[in-house]
Each structure stands twice: as C-alpha cells, then as structure tokens.
C-alpha cells in the first residue's frame, strides 16, 4: 500500500463521479486530437499528390472541381478540351513539361486514366510485377486497385463507361493487365493507367455514329503543367483564362482556398473541444472538493496515523492527475479509432486511405494541457487538505 495506490483505490471507489470528469476529458482531448490528425493527414495526402504540378488546364467550370478531378481523381471532370488547343499551350515557352490525361471509363468504380508515361514518373510509380504498356488496351494497375479487386497479371478487365460503377459496359473495352505498380502513397495507387490511345480508340468505336469526325478532333480531359520558372504561375494562368476558352487552375491556390473554407469549421470545433476540456477541469474540481468533504474523517484518520500534510495533499493531486492522464490516453485512443473510421469511410467513397497513428507535436501540448488541468483543479482541494484542522474534525464527529 502506498499513497499512489490509495489514490487509485479512491478513484475506483467513486466510479460514477470519476467517470463523468473522465468522459468529458476524453471527449475534449479526443475531438482536438482527431481534428489535428485528420487535418495533418489530409494535408499531407494533398501535398503529396500536388508535387510537380504547378497548373492544370481543362475545360471551363469550377477551378476547384478541375483540381479535384484531375489531380486528386475524386470529382467529375469539368469536361473535355481539344487536343490541338492543349498542344498549343504545351508548346508555350513558359511550360517546362506537360502531361495530358484522359478519362472515360472505370473498372468497378476505379478510374481508368489514359495518360502519357510521364504521369507515372510524376508520382514516382515503380512497376512491381510485369512491364510497362506497349500497345493500346494494356494497363498498369495501382496497388489499392489490385489489392481490393484481387487483380493479377494477365487478367482482362471489362470497363464501364463513365466514372461510376453503374455506367454501361463496353463490350469492346477489354483491357489487359500487363503491370502492377508498387504502393506509392499517391493517387496512382487507386488508378488504372493506360495509354491515351486506348481511351481514344475505345470511344471512337463506341461512338461509331459520329464516325465522320476528323482525325484531329481528339480530345483530352486535362493537362498537368509544370512551369519552367515559378514566376510564371502569376501570369500564365490568367492569360489562358482570359484569352482562350480553356480554364487554367493553380492547385496550390485552390487547395489552400479549400483548407481555408473548412479550416473555419475545424477552428470552431476545436474551440468547442477546448471548452469541453475546461468544463472537465471544473467537474474534476467539484468532484474532488465534494469528496474532500465526504472524506474529511478519512483524511483526519490518515493524519492521526502519522501521515504528513504534504502526503495527503500529494494524494489529492495524484487522484486528479491519474484521472487527467488516463483521460488524455483514452482521448488519443478515441481519436485513433476516429481516424480509422473516417479513413475507412473515405476509402469506400473516394478510394482515399489515411493511415498514420504517429503522435503529433500538438498532441504533446494536449498532454501538457491535461496535466495542467489535473494540477489546477486539484490545487484548492489539496490546499484545503493541507490546512485541515484534524482536531476540530475529530471533535465534531
């Protein structure tokens, strides 16, 4: 038996009032930590997929939609643009490199992207098994796609029209899996990638009633552009938007706009969570204060057994700290389960996966805050116990 054990026994002796303070703290810490985790994970994921893309050119529409669809592959494209127009832009002297991408089909909900081979290099994709495509209708498959759909080399994939699973299926659109990509923790993990020619071919045969269209009527969905100099990011997009019927969007700008939008929500929610933590501190204080009154004879007894004032005060602070520190730990667990839950939701709906359980720096601050709450809320009860007049308490008995 020692003072620390006694503190723990005291907590378990009052499970109800202890668990209310604990639950509040778990909730507060959990929400803040969940917000921090999600914010960091989403930002990391977004930044990771942004590398090497200074500008995206696509059809007119919402710039955010253009970015979401052609950089993150989670929204519908704004439309198609003509290949000829795209070529004109990619030949501009300000453009360092450009990658054309085309959409059209999906296989069981995973997008089939027609893209130049530079696209895979952009995301540092490495072939794990098989080889690169050489001919139309040959595809490379991203890691999440083959893991989830159990696709092997040599399999034939019959695509469906559109970007959703429900689209009508092409009888002609049979793709052959020639390569599997290693996980790269970027968007190509959830894509099926093929040559642009494949996508053109499949839609040409599909739309055979428009067979009269000229050869150069080919279209692409978007073009990812890297500038020669970062300076061009100010001038060039504006030129395109004003002088052509194409749209140019800057991903870093759109994404920071998006974060500002939901950053406001995150801020509000975290203020609420801090409020909950403060309330938990009050509840802890009231808890201890009341239990001091109920336990005053106990305290007097412990003093008469020879314990010093200091030992008793330590016991009170311990009780509070045990609660707040376990609240912190449970809060972190809570947030990790939350991250896993959100991640599984995201994976189902948009094939994104967030999985990192590392402790963030801000969470160490939360630990500090929990300890502070523990000490502050137990300070007054501890001082009271320190000043307690045992003789008077015992005489009143």
């Amino acid at each position: 038996m020692n003072i620390f054990k006694l503190s723990i026994k005291n907590i378990f002796n009052k499970p109800l009032s202890s668990s209310i303070s604990l639950a509040l703290l778990v909730l507060g810490v959990g929400i803040i930590s969940l917000l921090l985790q999600l914010n960091t994970l989403i930002k990391d994921q977004m930044d990771n997929n942004l590398r090497g893309i200074d500008m995206v050119v696509g059809a007119k529409g919402s710039p955010l939609q253009l970015i979401l669809s052609s950089v993150y592959h989670i929204d519908s494209p704004t439309g198609n643009i003509s290949l000829a127009e795209a070529e004109t832009i990619s030949n501009n002297r300000m453009v360092g490199s450009s990658i054309k991408i085309l959409y059209g089909d999906n296989y069981k909900g995973f997008r089939i992207v027609g893209a130049e081979k530079k696209f895979i290099e952009l995301y540092k994709g490495v072939i794990k098994e098989g080889k690169d495509w050489d001919n139309p209708y040959e595809v490379l498959v991203g890691s999440k796609v083959y893991e989830k759909l159990k696709i092997n080399l040599g399999d034939e994939l019959i695509s469906s029209h559109g970007l959703r699973e429900t689209g009508q299926s092409h009888d002609e659109g049979t793709f052959k899996v020639v390569g599997l990509l290693k996980p790269s923790n970027s968007v190509i993990d959830q894509l099926i990638i093929t040559s642009p020619q494949s996508v053109w071919d499949i839609h040409e045969t599909h739309d055979h009633d428009e067979h009269e269209h000229e050869h150069d009527n080919r279209e692409i969905t978007a073009m990812l552009i890297k500038f020669k100099s970062p300076m061009n990011i100010i001038q060039f997009p504006r030129q395109i938007n004003e002088n052509t019927n194409l749209q140019a969007a800057v991903p870093s700008y759109e994404i920071s706009r998006l974060f500002k939008l939901f950053g406001f929500g995150i801020e509000t929610l975290s203020y609420l969570a801090y409020l909950i933590i403060i309330v938990s501190g009050f509840s802890l204080f009231i808890n201890l204060f009341n239990s001091m009154r109920e336990r005053k004879y106990e305290m007097a007894l412990i003093r008469t057994l020879g314990a010093s004032r200091f030992q008793l005060s330590t016991m009170i602070i311990f009780e509070s700290l045990v609660l707040t520190i376990s609240g912190f730990i449970l809060g972190l667990l809570f947030s990790r389960f939350g991250v896993m839950f959100v991640s599984s939701l995201m994976e189902e709906s948009i094939n994104y996966n967030l999985n990192s359980l590392k402790i963030l720096n801000e969470e160490y601050w939360l630990l500090g805050l929990s300890v502070l709450i523990g000490v502050v809320s137990s300070l007054i009860p501890a001082i009271q116990v320190y000043k307690m007049n045992i003789s008077k308490i015992l005489a009143d008995a």
Binding site: L6, R295, I302, L305, G306
Partner: protein, 207 residues
C-alpha cells in the same frame, strides 16, 4: 512516562480549559473520567499531539510535545501513539487489510504477518478482505483497535470507546483493549465519561 504540568488550552478565546497535572509511570494504565464539556477530547488531542496547548508542559516518553513542530508531531505520533476513536473511522475505499497496510506504509513499515496476527487476535481475520462499510458495529470497533496497535505504539489513547455500548459489551471492549495493550506491550489511557470503566482501572483521575 507521561508528565503534564499546568496545561491550559482555549479555543478562540471562548472556551478555556485548565487541566490538572498528570503523572503516569511506565507499565501503568490510566482512566481519565469526566462529564461532557470538561475538555476530555481536547485533553486527548493534546496528548496525541493533534493540538498544541497554550501554556504548560506535556512530557511524553521524555519528549516535550509543546516544543515540536507539526511535522515532528506527525512523526512522533506514528512511532509512539495509537488512537482508538469514539466513532471508528476508516479509509472507505480500502479493505480491512489494506487499511492496516496503509497505516504501516505511513509508519514506513511493511509486515503482513503482524497484520495477520493482530486480526486473528481480535477474531476478525476472516474479514480481512471486506470493505470497512460491510462490517458490523462491533467488528468496526475491533478494526479500529487493530489500526491503533498495528504499528506497535508504546501508548494507546482511547476516546470514549464504550459510550454507546451496553454493560456486557462495555466490559468486553475494555477487557479487549487492556488485553491488546498487554499483549503488544503498550500502555493504555482511556478518556471517558463512562463511570462503568472505573472498576477496570487501578489508576484514574477525574477532570
């Protein structure tokens, strides 16, 4: 062993007590008897070092209590004095055994054999793992005696140990207290208004 001289005490200048001198030798037990309001509990708290007198001297085991700091008194108490309260108090979150272990921990001791032998001696060994609020009144009283003697004090102070008991139990409890004191080599001072106890003590003083 205990020598008091002109001890005076007043609570906030309202109640004033002047206690007669006490002189107790080693190996003697003492009964201090007095009506309500004569300061019995005050005297006991003075002897236990829970209160400090305003003037006079209390010499216990050759130590002058009035000259000790609060911290020294705590430490003196845990090494020398066991207290049996009028109403038994325990740490409610702990079992009988754990209460005794806590008392030992406070006195920097750790001796489960002693706890076992005390509980057996008091016939409550089978209640070792019960929470104290599950005990009967009589059992509680015996546990509070166990708490008072677990650290082998040289002096046991008992405050009204028999006031709420019938004649039969009264005599049982006082015999038990005396036996425990003898068995474990401690002296016993009982403070009470209960005149039934007079016949159990050779030496008594009236306040």
């Amino acid at each position: 062993m205990l020598k008091t001289k002109e001890v005076e005490f007043n609570y906030d200048n309202q109640m004033f007590f002047k206690f007669q001198n006490i002189d107790l030798n080693s190996n003697e037990n003492l009964l201090i008897i007095g009506e309500s309001g004569v300061g019995k509990t005050t005297l006991m708290h003075l002897l236990a070092g829970l209160l400090k007198s305003n003037s006079g001297s209390i010499k216990l085991f050759d130590k002058e209590l009035n000259q000790m700091s609060s911290y020294q008194l705590d430490s003196f108490r845990k090494n020398n004095i066991g207290i049996v309260f009028q109403r038994p108090h325990f740490v409610n979150s702990l079992t009988v055994k754990e209460n005794l272990q806590l008392a030992q921990y406070i006195a920097n001791k750790n001796d489960n054999n002693r706890i076992e032998s005390i509980l057996k001696n008091l016939n409550i060994f089978e209640k070792s793992n019960k929470k104290t609020n599950q005990l009967s009144q009589g059992e509680k009283q015996r546990v509070s005696i166990a708490l008072a003697i677990v650290n082998s004090p040289k002096l046991i102070l008992a405050d009204e140990p028999t006031s709420s008991l019938d004649d039969n139990n009264c005599s049982k409890v006082i015999k038990l207290l005396k036996k425990q004191a003898t068995d474990f080599g401690a002296q016993l001072i009982v403070i009470t208004h209960d005149s039934r106890l007079k016949k159990h003590f050779k030496k008594s003083i009236e306040l």
